[in-house]
Symmetry: C2
């Protein structure tokens, strides 16, 4: 499969990158932008990418262990059932857990509320050498906070600038930021919520509040539209990923993550000691 690069007619990076001013209403959540293959081809390619992804992640980790300052941060946003958790499990789960810093952001705790909204985000940023994965993120401050009116408009509007400045700072410190917004159709979202109600082993994933979010879909999409338009920057671009087909979303994020790691162009760190001398010391010990 790795020998069929032509299945991507347009690389995921290009096909999915948000173009300011695009109308989010026009996004087909069942589409597979850039991809010409079938589901089975997609699953096979994702599996074929696993060794490279793991190798690149290990180079990043080695780099961090030897004084390097690079890191990668995957930011996942999406409405309930959009598949954020599945991406963590099936994509982030492809690499060594030793090198992963995963963090899910829910309703802020009491302690978190005593600080600015970026406090808990800063605390969770990947250290050098790590792959960070945020399931929800600082962007909730212009999504749920806006839709539920938790702050006056004047306040949440200021966040766009703050978010861009924050990410510029994180990027300047050495972290490659990959922001993924997953979009499911209303029908698919309803179907997935219904499935959680049908299966007792999925009840714990269901929250009666999910229906309110479903009802506020239009307001959420408006908030996403503005978020994408205002915070997709050169150093921290957004990728809008149609997510009705789980396999496509996972393949796409695998490509985006692999691309981000490739862009670091990291070799193995040179030895910080005299290799031949150490061989002799070891043989003599």
């Amino acid at each position: 499969m790795a020998n069929k690069p032509d299945l991507w007619k347009t690389p995921a990076q290009e096909a999915l990158r948000w173009v300011r001013g695009t109308d989010l209403d026009g996004l087909d959540q069942g589409a597979k932008p850039g991809w010409a293959g079938k589901r089975s081809d997609g699953k096979a390619l994702q599996e074929a990418l696993a060794p490279e992804l793991a190798d690149l992640q290990e180079r990043l980790f080695a780099h961090g262990r030897t004084g390097g300052d690079r890191a990668v941060l995957l930011v996942l946003q999406g409405l309930d059932t959009a598949g954020k958790g599945g991406i963590v499990r099936h994509v982030v789960g492809m690499v060594d857990p030793q090198g992963v810093m995963h963090r899910g952001f829910g309703v802020p705790t009491e302690e978190e509320r005593e600080h600015g909204y970026l406090w808990r985000i800063r605390n969770a940023l990947p250290r050098p050498g790590y792959l960070g994965a945020f399931d929800r993120s600082h962007y909730e401050q212009v999504l749920v906070v806006r839709v539920d009116g938790l702050e006056p408009e004047k306040t949440w509007r200021e966040h766009y600038r703050e978010l861009n400045e924050f990410e510029a700072e994180v990027a300047a410190a050495g972290t490659v930021i990959v922001k993924v917004a997953l979009f499911v159709s209303a029908d698919e979202q309803k179907k997935r919520l219904a499935a959680r109600l049908e299966r007792p082993d999925k009840h714990w994933k269901y929250d009666p509040g999910d229906i309110e979010v479903l009802r506020k879909r239009a307001q959420y999409l408006a908030a996403y539209q503005e978020m994408l338009d205002r915070t997709s920057t050169e150093v921290a671009p957004w990728y809008a990923v149609p997510a009705d087909r789980k396999w496509y979303a996972r393949l796409a994020v695998t490509e985006l993550l692999t691309g981000a790691l490739r862009s670091l162009d990291l070799g193995w760190p040179p030895a910080g000691f005299d290799v031949e001398a150490e061989k002799k010391r070891l043989a003599a010990s």
Copy 2:
């Protein structure tokens, strides 16, 4: 393979559990206690256990999400090259990274040194619902600290009692503790260090200080002996795992972890809402 339980002549839990007073010098690091199968059987069984391990871990996670207080903590100790990292990658890596809290403990940082040695440990304990994995741990306080004379004997000797009390408290709060000490032979350790020197992609894993540790092997084994004897308790037993055969060590820890999760006997959490009423609300929305 899951249908060949007879390959474990004695369950790993039983075959590996530390028996106070056993002479650690008599441990054969190349042995496969309890296991009657071949390497290929072991690899196949480990793979066959993956779905059950993932299912059990998800139940634990669901339990934590719905107010439960149970957690599992895997503590890994072992000399350099014993394979702690491989266990994290290949065993802990079998479950959803969303439910894992992994932490590697190195030389304490300046901030960590300002607190007692259990401070950083407490901060890294798995929250309810999580599988915690410690690569090195609070036990360094009776291992490297003892061998390198970083504290007077009177001080580190007090730690045995403190460690037991600490773990009794953690266990009482709902966490199942599985402590694994991995043992490689001197020959295998030297071979693995030599391999790190041979391969440029492994140089970053090598530290000239590793040779000092190799030279202090006897002192380390004495420290391990006393640690095992004094801190293997009913609520937090030690398992001594021969680790010259990586596949055996990984299989054994997979069994220990699966057993710990099975012992929680967790079903899926009951719905905290009226399922039929929610189905109607959803259909109407």
